[in-house]
Symmetry: C2
Amino acid sequence: MAQYPEQLNGIFQALADPTRRAVLGRLSRGPATVSELAKPFDMALPSFMKHIHFLEDSGWIRTHKEGRVRTCAIEKEPFTAVEAWLAEQQELWESRTDRLEQFATEHTVTTPAKDTPQ
Amino acid sequence: MAQYPEQLNGIFQALADPTRRAVLGRLSRGPATVSELAKPFDMALPSFMKHIHFLEDSGWIRTHKEGRVRTCAIEKEPFTAVEAWLAEQQELWESRTDRLEQFATEHTVTTPAKDTPQ
DNA sequence: ACATCAGTTAGCTCTTGCGCTAACCATTGT
DNA sequence: ACAATGGTTAGCGCAAGAGCTAACTGATGT
C-alpha cells in the first residue's frame, strides 16, 4: 500500500512545475503527441522535451514512438500514490483531533457552560 | 476555488523532499519545537532549519517563537489545495471516459451486436 | 531525390536546492 | 555571573533544474 518514498520525490517534484502540471491537465483529456503538447508553450522544443522526460521518468506519463511521432498518455498510478499519501496524513490528523476531542470532553465535565467565551 | 498556480509550485516542491514529508508527518500528530523535530534526522541544525523555512514559506506550517524556542504547527490549506488539484484532474479524466463511453454507445446503435469483435 | 516535419543530441548558461562549518545571539537554568 | 540550551546568520560547495542555441537523425510528403 505505502510505496517506496523515493518515488514520491519524483512524483511531487514533477508537480512543482506549472508547465508539467499543464501537460498533465491536457493529457487527462486524452493522449497527445509531443508537438501538440508543446504548441501552447512559448518554449524551445528541447526545453519542453525535458519536461516530457521528467514526467516519464517520474511515472506520470507513458510514451511511445511510432514513425517520427511520439505519443504521450497519462498514467494513473502516481495519482493514487499522491492520494495515498494524503490519506495517510489525514489519518494522523484525525487520530490527533480524536485525542483533542477526548481531552476536550474530559474537561467539559468540569466546565460550567460549553458556549461561554473568554 | 482554484488558487494561484504559483502557490502550487511551492506546495508540491515542499513535498518533493523526504525530510519535509517526514516533518509534516510528525506535525500531523500535533505541534512540536524545532529541536524535537530535528532530533530524528542526521543533519546539521542550519540545514534542517532550511526545511522548516521552506515549509513555512510554502504555507505548510506556521511557527512562532516564545523565548528561545520555536514551535511549529501544521496548516491545512495546502492540503486542501492539493486535493483540489487532484479533483480537478479527476474531473477531466472522468469527462474523458464519459466521451469514450458516449462514443462507444453511439457506435453500438449502428453495429449489429454489441459484443461482436472486429 | 529533396524538402519538410518531428524529435533528438550536445553543450552552454544561470539559478536554486540541499548539505556543511564556524561563529554568533539570546534566553534559561545554576 | 556563567554555562548551557535553542536557534540564527553568514558563507561555502556541489548537484540538479530549467531555459537557450546549433546542429543532427530519421520518417513523411511531393
